[in-house]
């Protein structure tokens, strides 16, 4: 599945609805559906804010596909989500969430993303920033 959208925050709720239904359909537990949805929402928000500087008309592409890994001798199914934008290259050093010991606004988005997903990888390919998020189903959940 693929979604193409512009960097207008009004689309965030549409994407959340889509991701929530998708993860439910794939058999993720409800709490994980919420956390994966939150991770995608925070990642999109970061693109809008930091990659595109709050411009509303810039392109974002999202690809959803199945993923697999071997874990404890068994094949584990999962969902891979790739978010692509054409903003300036991101300094990987800036992709660290802040310490949760600080009580201040901001810096929580990356923390939510890392808490929710098994894999969080950022790469730059040509003019495109690519954020790859993967979440695997626990053993026994094989709706994928």
């Amino acid at each position: 599945m693929m979604l193409a959208l512009y960097s207008n925050p009004k689309w965030l709720s549409v994407v959340r609805g889509t991701v929530e239904r998708l993860t439910e359909t794939l058999g993720f537990p409800i709490a994980q559906c919420r956390s994966i949805t939150r991770a995608v929402d925070e990642a999109l928000t970061n693109i809008v804010r930091h990659s595109y500087g709050n411009r509303l008309d810039q392109p974002i592409a999202m690809y959803f596909r199945s993923a697999q890994r071997r874990h404890d001798g068994q094949v584990q199914q999962g969902l891979e989500i790739l978010l692509c934008d054409r903003g300036p290259a991101v300094d990987p050093c800036k992709l660290h969430g802040r310490s949760l010991d600080e009580i201040r606004p901001g810096g929580l988005g990356l923390h939510f993303i890392r808490q929710a997903m098994d894999t969080v990888e950022f790469t730059r390919k040509g003019p495109t920033n690519r954020l790859r998020l993967v979440k695997y189903l626990a053993q026994g959940n094989n709706a994928l």
């Binding site: 925050p9 009004k10 965030l12 709720s13 959340r16 919420r34 939150r38 929402d41 925070e42 928000t45 809008v48 804010r49 949760l100 010991d101 009580i103 201040r104 606004p105 901001g106 810096g107 929580l108 988005g109 923390h111 939510f112 808490q115």
Partner: protein
């Protein structure tokens, strides 16, 4: 996201409902900060019972409200946390930073 405001002489209650995300959190932030800084209300309470989703920018708005209240010596209270709101405050380890009550009655009696 919808906001309604109730006021009496010592307390202002904000009832937020729906999704607080990057699109709507600036309104939350501005409403809360204006009440604290300009109206100088001694107690600002935020009802989160009808909040279906809150992202990190929404949490940041609440933290700003808390800090502004502390700076001015007023109180900033959350009550009736919906499951999504509670989950996010727990994830961010801010659940113990805020003054939180189960419902409006408890919040008003505090």
């Amino acid at each position: 996201m919808q906001i309604s405001v109730r006021r009496n002489d010592k307390t202002t209650i904000f009832d937020f409902s729906g999704d607080i995300d990057f699109a709507s959190s600036p309104v939350v932030r501005d409403s809360v900060l204006r009440e604290i800084r300009e109206s100088h209300t001694p107690r600002v309470a935020v009802n989160l019972s009808q909040v279906r989703y809150i992202d990190s920018s929404g949490v940041a708005s609440l933290v700003e409200g808390l800090k502004a209240s502390r700076d001015l010596g007023s109180r900033f209270i959350l009550f009736g946390l919906s499951r999504p709101a509670r989950e996010v405050l727990q994830l961010s380890r801010l659940i113990k930073v805020f003054e939180i009550y189960d419902n409006e009655e408890q919040a008003m009696d505090s």
